[in-house]
């Protein structure tokens, strides 16, 4: 940075400190529904998340949890406000940089899984590695290993429609894990699982957290949220309460 304009240095001041991996600064997401009707899915959300934190997001249906996760996952852009990811202002990143982040830095588990219907579980898990440019053999090994971690190795050649809801969810988790991302964003990762399997998945997240990954997960269940060290309660697109536990 040879020359610094006033705006630049102002922004410099805003760069969150090193330990803060995610900084949401007054995030809004507004949908125009036509005829001057606006839906505010998020109305000014601000929070910091430190590297290595384990955070649960809770809130009633329609409160904006998925909307928030999509923003944090660099899939969507806020109508207003700034989102800092590891010191980068996301709105200033190029398309390729965003693709890189989605590929390597963020593991996203979708509420609706979003698996490729025509591809096997194994191939679904391989996808992020393909876009990392990893050679086939190494890719296969890693994808298998990832599926083994969610106990789905025997089902790896099944297509999504040949798997149960819980199994699909586990494929989605294996896919999010496979590129060893630093941030794991999971939108109701246990929503389709019985409590026993849910606990197993929580075990995976627990170990990821122990290994230093930053974890954010959306859940409705207090049992699940109890695994986290911090719970952010969302209501009507706003943060209602931000509590640290344990």
């Amino acid at each position: 940075m040879a020359t610094r304009t006033g705006a630049d240095s102002l922004r410099e001041l805003q760069i969150p400190p090193d330990g803060v991996i995610i900084k949401a600064d007054d995030l809004w997401k507004t949908y125009d529904m036509g005829e001057a009707i606006q839906v505010h899915a998020l109305s000014g959300v601000s929070f910091d998340i430190d590297r290595g934190e384990y955070v649960a997001i809770m809130g009633p249906s329609g409160s904006g949890k998925s909307t928030l996760m999509n923003l944090l996952g660099c899939l969507d852009t806020p109508t207003r406000g700034n989102y800092w990811l590891n010191g980068h202002l996301v709105s200033e990143l190029s398309d390729d940089e965003l693709a890189y982040i989605r590929n390597k830095e963020i593991g996203f588990v979708f509420q609706t899984f979003n698996l490729l219907a025509r591809a096997s579980a194994l191939h679904n898990v391989e996808l992020p590695l393909i876009y990392s440019g990893m050679p086939a053999r190494e890719r296969l090994e890693k994808a298998e290993e990832s599926l083994r971690k969610v106990d789905l190795a025997e089902r790896m050649h099944h297509k999504p429609n040949e798997l149960s809801g819980g199994q699909r969810q586990r494929v989605a988790i294996a896919r999010a894990l496979v590129n060893n991302p630093s941030i794991m964003l999971a939108d109701e990762p246990t929503g389709n699982l019985d409590s026993a399997t849910g606990e197993e998945i929580m075990g995976v997240f627990g170990r990821l957290h122990e290994a230093g990954h930053t974890i954010l997960l959306v859940t409705h269940e207090h049992d699940i949220a109890a695994h986290a060290h911090r719970i952010i309660h969302v209501r009507d697109g706003r943060i209602e309460r931000d509590e640290r536990i344990g």
Binding site: G52, A99, Y100, K104, G133, M134, K142, N179, V204, G212
Partner: protein, 481 residues
């Protein structure tokens, strides 16, 4: 326990937890995104994430070496997608199939004709040119004009050339008639449409025939206007299947000729047998068939270079003798292999030009159809594109995926076109018969066909692919199919 705890190296993770804490405490170290070493590390060691995702400065976005991986993936997605819609793919490709097939068939026909012309028609014998009333293989209008102006080559003109041309190797003449009335008969067998030719004795050295048995027309035969003949294989087959033809008497247009020699088999040209002939002395021919025949004067040179000089000499001599004014065209033709080939290449050039036009139209239509189906495919697969983008596919990865799909699709069309072309040429060969010519597909036609069709797919795939690449990840993910 669903997940074996052995999967996670706990010993290692204790260490890394330490380092993670250390990291978060050091406030001023903002140089890089120091990613804590995870317990998955043994499996995932190859990523130096800190280098790629630094806390400041540009994020390294391209892996470089990985391009091939995504291209391969794109290829398999394409094959998979096309397999899923076989009929649709086939119908989509019809234009490209027809275009490629047309191109290759025409190229193979022209190729076959070229070989044929070179073999059968342009081959007048080594260093021979023919002085004839007309220039062969010229355009229709030129021919109409020549028909009015040109005069037959007369015996006197032949003799004049024979006496005044310098240093030729050989000069001979022949006159022929062949029509529905010309026949040859032996006992009860009759052959119609016989080519009756009066020749000078040296024609055996100039022309293409060779003596199989007996002898050719000789100087004494010529001088005495003898009733002798030299016959082709067709007559031998019809008249003398089991007997020696030599010294047998054959009726040619009612006149008895003694067979003195038999020619070797020549074959056929454009499906017409070249072995259906009777050759007699030119003097005898004048006496019985035509007193002042129109001749073909065959001049043989020693080499190609001399042949050109002889052609010029011949032209000058004949023009002078016929008093053709300076500015006017020749009133005769001088025909050589290369002029015939030249004319032939003009004709094939024109045919090829028309073909290129037709192929271009088909390719354009085929390309637009491909573009249309690719646009539909992008719409159908919006959700899939969203998934891929959410997992880190860049614009160029998606672009590549659809461009490759279009190219592979069109390339398959080209392959089918090639197959159709092979079938058509084989069919042509079968129908026309092996005696005619062999349409053979040149390697260049195969290359041009495949490269062109693939290129068309690539070109017309670019727009739909760029539409796909432009899609916003979240919008695409929200689209349900």
């Amino acid at each position: 326990m669903l997940i074996a705890s052995s999967t996670f190296a706990t010993a290692a993770s204790n260490e890394t937890k330490e380092s993670a804490r250390r990291n978060s405490k050091v406030e001023n170290r903002r140089a890089r995104f120091e990613f804590p070493v995870s317990s998955f590390e043994p499996l995932m060691a190859s990523f130096d994430q800190t280098a790629a995702f630094p806390r400041t400065g540009a994020i390294q976005s391209a892996t470089g070496a990985g391009a091939w991986v995504t291209i391969r993936e794109a290829f398999w997605i394409a094959v998979e997608a096309l397999r899923a819609h076989k009929l649709r793919t086939f119908l989509t490709l019809l234009g490209v199939v027809i275009a490629t097939a047309t191109l290759i068939v025409v190229m193979s026909l022209i190729n076959g004709m070229n070989l044929y012309i070179a073999d059968h028609i342009a081959n007048l014998g080594a260093n021979v040119f023919i002085v004839h009333r007309y220039q062969w293989a010229q355009g229709y209008e030129a021919w109409l004009k020549a028909r009015r102006r040109n005069k037959p080559i007369l015996i006197e003109e032949f003799e004049y050339l024979r006496d005044n041309l310098k240093d030729y190797r050989n000069i001979g003449a022949e006159a022929e008639i062949q029509n529905i009335n010309t026949y040859a008969r032996f006992q009860s067998h009759t052959v119609y449409f016989v080519d009756i030719a009066g020749v000078t004795p040296n024609m055996i050295d100039i022309g293409m025939q060779k003596v199989e048995s007996g002898r050719y027309i000789t100087q004494p035969d010529y001088d005495h206007e003898s009733l002798v003949c030299f016959i082709g294989q067709d007559l031998v087959n019809s008249f003398f299947p089991n007997v020696d033809p030599l010294n047998k008497e054959v009726l040619v247009d009612g006149i008895p000729f003694r067979v003195v020699g038999v020619a070797e088999k020549i074959g056929s040209t454009f499906g017409e047998s070249q072995d259906n002939f009777v050759q007699i002395p030119l003097t005898t021919y004048q006496k019985f068939f035509s007193p002042r025949p129109s001749l073909e004067v065959n001049v043989q040179a020693w080499d190609a270079e001399q042949m050109m000089r002889l052609e010029d000499q011949t032209r000058a001599l004949l023009r002078a003798r016929r008093h053709v004014p300076y500015r006017e065209d020749d009133t005769f033709g001088i025909n050589a292999s290369d002029t015939i080939m030249q004319t032939w290449h003009q004709i094939t050039g024109a045919v090829f030009g028309v073909t290129i036009g037709i192929v271009a139209v088909f390719m354009l239509v085929g390309g637009i159809v491909i573009m249309n189906i690719m646009l539909a495919s992008v719409t159908e697969r919006t959700h899939e594109i969203g998934i891929r983008k959410s997992l880190g596919a860049r614009r160029r990865d998606i672009l590549m995926q659809f461009v490759i799909e279009a190219s592979v699709m069109a390339g398959i069309g080209g392959g089918m076109g090639l197959l159709a072309a092979v079938l058509v040429s084989e069919l042509v060969n079968l129908i026309v018969g092996p005696g005619f010519f062999n349409a053979s597909i040149p390697v260049s036609a195969i290359l041009v066909g495949l490269v062109l069709s693939t290129g068309v797919g690539l070109f017309f795939g670019i727009y739909p692919a760029s539409q796909a690449a432009k899609l916003d990840p979240i919008e695409a993910l929200r689209t349900e199919n």
